[in-house]
């Protein structure tokens, strides 16, 4: 696991700064076979540009301990 929020974004992908794993920003899947996808939280962008997170997803992530 690495802090992918700190990675380089290119197109719709981000590269993990620790292990160079390429993660797809749209669905959380990893480009290398055999790597587990990262958890995703569905979001909506509001009219004022605010980002709305789905709290259900966050709770599920916390409960499964993968956050």
């Amino acid at each position: 696991m690495g802090p992918i929020s700190q990675g380089i974004v290119h197109g719709d992908k981000v590269t993990c700064p620790l292990h160079n794993l390429v993660i797809n920003l749209t669905d959380g899947t990893a480009s290398d076979d055999g790597c587990t996808p990262v958890c995703t939280i569905s979001v909506q962008v509001g009219e004022g540009g605010e980002v709305l997170l789905n709290t259900e997803d966050i709770r599920a992530m916390q409960e499964s301990g993968t956050g």
Partner: protein, 804 residues
């Protein structure tokens, strides 16, 4: 427009089925809204946009209430009530209230001169303003905003487009196409400001300007808000119909009340609201069928496509063009024609496309997306369009072919493309060696070898077999050196421009090429290139080293490895104040504080800055450390003041970005206590002066340095070291350490350039010094003052209790 279409259909099929009454909130007949932009720009007259004149309504016995907004739907009594006490009963009701523009809820949004862009009244207000006012600001860089901007520009106003996101039309275009669009818009004489969030509209009664969240502002005589549209649903909502974003309809366009239908921009089908003409007309057709009891006709989810109506700009996007794990992309760029085409493929199907500059094949692609055509047979050449029968491979010589004859291919010897071509043709040259012998091109450092070979290929055709060039990454066929030469030969100043001109095969590059390109550009254009933070690895973006637990380490500079009680005290205080768990002395004679939280970094740096400690660049592809021994001031063996030279060197060199890290040392005598002979650049003091060494390594490879040259005094030592580092900065491949560069180029060639050719050495030194004017700044101090503040603060702290 949608209801007119529905009425046409109704009339065609069964003109006697219904008596029709129409309420129009606008005081006019039905007109083609899509043509408002040409009306604004003066390319079309309003009269030509009218779909149905008064006679049409009259002929069909339709009752039309113009300028008569409906105020209530009474579903119990089946009556529609409008203003002025007008009321009409209905058996069936068709709602087509469309949408209304979103007005940003910022202070001043209701001032005079703030307009939206939706209907003819808006266009008239804009045209009136264009007669008397000078400066227009359009908020929103989407379809409508850009069309409004182009129209106002055409009417002679000074126009600025302000967009919230970094690229224009980001909902319909990818980054590359957005960048091309911005250049095209700017070439119309329209100013574009991206990444600006509007904070307030300023002025008294009438608007005078726009203020942004970052504190900047611009003047404005009128402001057009084109930030988006919202389905108009309040009427349906008040009547108790099911609404979400729009009025929810089934596939027969029926709302939750089966006697009421909804179509157009106010209707929501399967979670989608549509704004483009084709799906809206289809809704109208379906609604007409439903009204006539035809249940077979139904609406299906549509692929959306977008096109900008600005004269001289061709762009189109359709379908879903996001990257995906199971998706591949085909990209074609033709920089001479300003063309960018991207196809997104999933399995054997085309799922999306973005076209810029050449939209001639848009219909063909759209059809394939819509029909889910199996494209496996045409995949290799479909990017060239439907007329292309045979598959043609990407032409590897295109980049060189497009260079003008006076472009320098060989920077070292100043040999132009024209001269090389001439030599190949006139002297019948067929080999790289022949070109080198005749013209000197690629005969010195050799970095332009790839380009010379491509020129040979271009002149001789397939009979010439070039040596294989290792591509920079999967996004291009060009090698590192080719890219570097082309950056200066073609005056490339930005990453998107480079990707377009050099025909990058991916839309946004990758984590391998982006940092390399960023370095090449900043090394080529010091002071002019705008550093792209998003193309830097996290360490260089945050100016600290990320650790495996996500915390950071902080290493301040200690010039030549010399410190003081004041500095050490400040470090000790910082360690206590921020509970830094580990403090370690590094191999480069520095103190490393490990385990600092990201949000603490600016505060840590602020405390260190107070005693003069600046960034040690231990995180960067940059000048790292100059390690020294104590030298002749203290040591009985010392031959020169190695500490003083080390400090001078570091103070001159620090802050410079390099292809890979550069570690240095100065030893006061050949006993070499500072281990100078395994460094990237090392100085060994001897009785007669200084031996300058380079190309050592002590990592996975261990190598002794090579002697570059000998100098007599401090000043000359600094000149030679700076010159060799500058040569490396200009020729090195990204991530290539000095010893690998030296092996590739040849130590002799480097000695020729740096030692034997004094004029060249001075020129290299001058270029390094020039670059330092821009890059020798303490990045920590900048960030203490608030630069890049967003990097260090979370967007938002989520409180867990809220979730429970």
């Amino acid at each position: 427009m949608a209801p007119s279409r529905a009425l046409e259909k109704l009339n065609e099929t069964d003109p006697d089925a219904y008596n029709v009454t129409i309420f129009n909130a606008e005081p006019r007949v039905s007109y083609n809204r899509v043509m408002l932009s040409p009306v604004l720009s003066g390319e079309e007259e309003f009269e030509k946009t009218i779909i149905h004149g008064d006679d049409w309504y009259f002929k069909h016995d339709f009752i039309l209430y113009r300028g008569c907004p409906v105020t209530e739907i009474d579903r119990e009594a089946k009556i529609v009530k409008a203003i002025n006490g007008i009321a009409e009963p209905y058996d069936r009701l068709l709602i087509a209230t469309g949408s209304s523009p979103v007005i940003l809820d910022v202070p001043g949004h209701d001032k005079e001169g703030v307009l939206s862009y939706r209907d003819l009244d808006d266009v008239k207000a804009m045209l009136a303003a264009a007669e008397t006012r000078r400066q227009a600001v359009v908020i929103g860089g989407g379809l409508l905003g850009l069309e409004a901007a182009a129209g106002l520009r055409n009417r002679g106003m000074e126009v600025t487009v302000v967009h919230r996101n970094p690229t224009l039309m980001d909902r319909q275009l990818d980054e590359t196409a957005g960048h091309l669009l911005q250049r095209a818009i700017e070439s119309l004489g329209i100013r574009v400001l991206t990444g600006r969030h509007t904070k307030a509209i300023t002025g008294d009664e009438h608007v005078k300007g726009v203020l942004f969240k970052d504190g900047s502002s611009i003047q404005a005589d009128i402001v057009i808000m084109a930030v988006g549209i919202r389905p108009s649903v309040w009427l349906a909502e008040n009547a108790g119909l099911h609404t979400d974003r729009g009025i929810v309809v089934d596939k027969h366009m029926r709302t939750s009340d089966p006697d009421i239908l909804a179509i157009g921009e106010c209707a929501e089908f399967d979670g989608e609201v549509y704004g483009l003409l084709a799906p809206l007309y289809e809704m109208a057709n379906v609604a007409a069928a439903t009204l006539l009891g035809n249940e077979e006709r139904h609406f299906e989810k549509r692929i959306t496509a977008a096109q900008l109506k600005v004269t001289g700009i061709d762009l189109y996007s359709a379908g879903d063009f996001a990257d995906g794990d199971n998706r591949e992309e085909i990209v074609l760029r033709d920089p001479n024609q300003g063309v960018y085409k991207r196809l997104v493929i999933e399995g054997n199907h085309l799922v999306g496309t973005v076209l810029y500059g050449d939209t001639s094949s848009m219909g063909w692609y759209f059809q394939m997306i819509k029909d889910r055509t199996d494209i496996s047979g045409i995949r290799d050449y479909m990017i060239f369009g439907p007329g292309y029968a045979e598959g043609a491979a990407r032409d590897p010589t295109a980049a060189v072919a497009s260079l003008p004859d006076d472009a320098d291919i060989c920077g070292c010897n100043g040999v132009s493309k024209g001269l090389i071509k001439q030599a190949i043709d006139e002297k019948n040259l067929t080999t790289l060696e022949g070109v080198r012998a005749c013209t000197k091109a690629s005969a010195s450092c050799g970095t332009c070898t790839g380009l010379v070979e491509q020129l040979l290929l271009l002149r001789l055709g397939d009979s010439y077999q070039p040596a294989e060039v290792k591509p920079l990454c999967g996004c291009t066929d060009l090698g590192h050196s080719d890219v570097r030469r082309l950056i200066s030969a073609r005056n490339i100043m930005t990453i998107p421009d480079l990707m377009q001109k050099l025909e990058w095969k991916s839309s946004g590059g990758c984590a391998k090429c982006r940092p390399a390109l960023n370095y090449y550009l900043l090394a080529s254009w010091p002071g002019e290139y705008v550093d792209d933070n998003q193309s830097r690895f996290i360490n260089e973006r945050i100016h600290a080293n990320i650790q495996k637990d996500g915390t950071y380490s902080v290493v301040p500079r200690m010039w030549g490895g010399v410190t003081s009680s004041g500095e050490l005290r400040a470090i000790a205080d910082v360690v206590d104040k921020f509970n830094i768990p580990t403090v370690k002395v590094t191999g480069g004679q520095r103190v490393d504080m490990l385990g600092v939280k990201k949000e603490d970094l600016p505060a840590v740096w602020a405390d260190l800055n107070k005693v003069g400690l600046v960034s040690g660049h231990a995180y960067g592809k940059a000048i790292r450390t100059v390690k020294t021994c104590v030298g002749k001031e203290w040591c009985r063996f010392g031959t020169q003041d190695s500490t003083k030279l080390g400090i001078r060197l570091e103070k001159f060199l620090w802050g410079s970005w390099t292809p890979a890290k550069v570690k240095m040392a100065v030893s006061g005598c050949p006993r070499n206590c500072a281990e100078a002979t395994c460094k990237d650049v090392g100085v060994v003091c001897v009785e007669s002066g200084y031996d300058i060494h380079f190309a050592g390594a002590a990592g996975m490879d261990v190598r002794e340095t090579q002697l570059l040259g000998h100098v007599d005094n401090d000043d000359d030592a600094i000149e030679m070291v700076a010159a060799v580092i500058q040569l490396y900065r200009e020729q090195g491949h990204y991530l290539e350490r000095i010893y690998k560069w030296a092996k590739r180029i040849g130590v002799d060639s480097i000695q020729d350039a740096v030692v034997d050719d004094a004029a060249n050495r001075k020129a290299l030194y001058a270029r390094f010094a020039h670059s330092q004017e821009y890059y020798q700044i303490d990045p920590w101090e900048e960030r203490v003052k608030g630069h890049d503040r967003h990097e260090f603060a979370p967007l938002k702290e989520l409180e867990t209790p809220e979730l429970a």
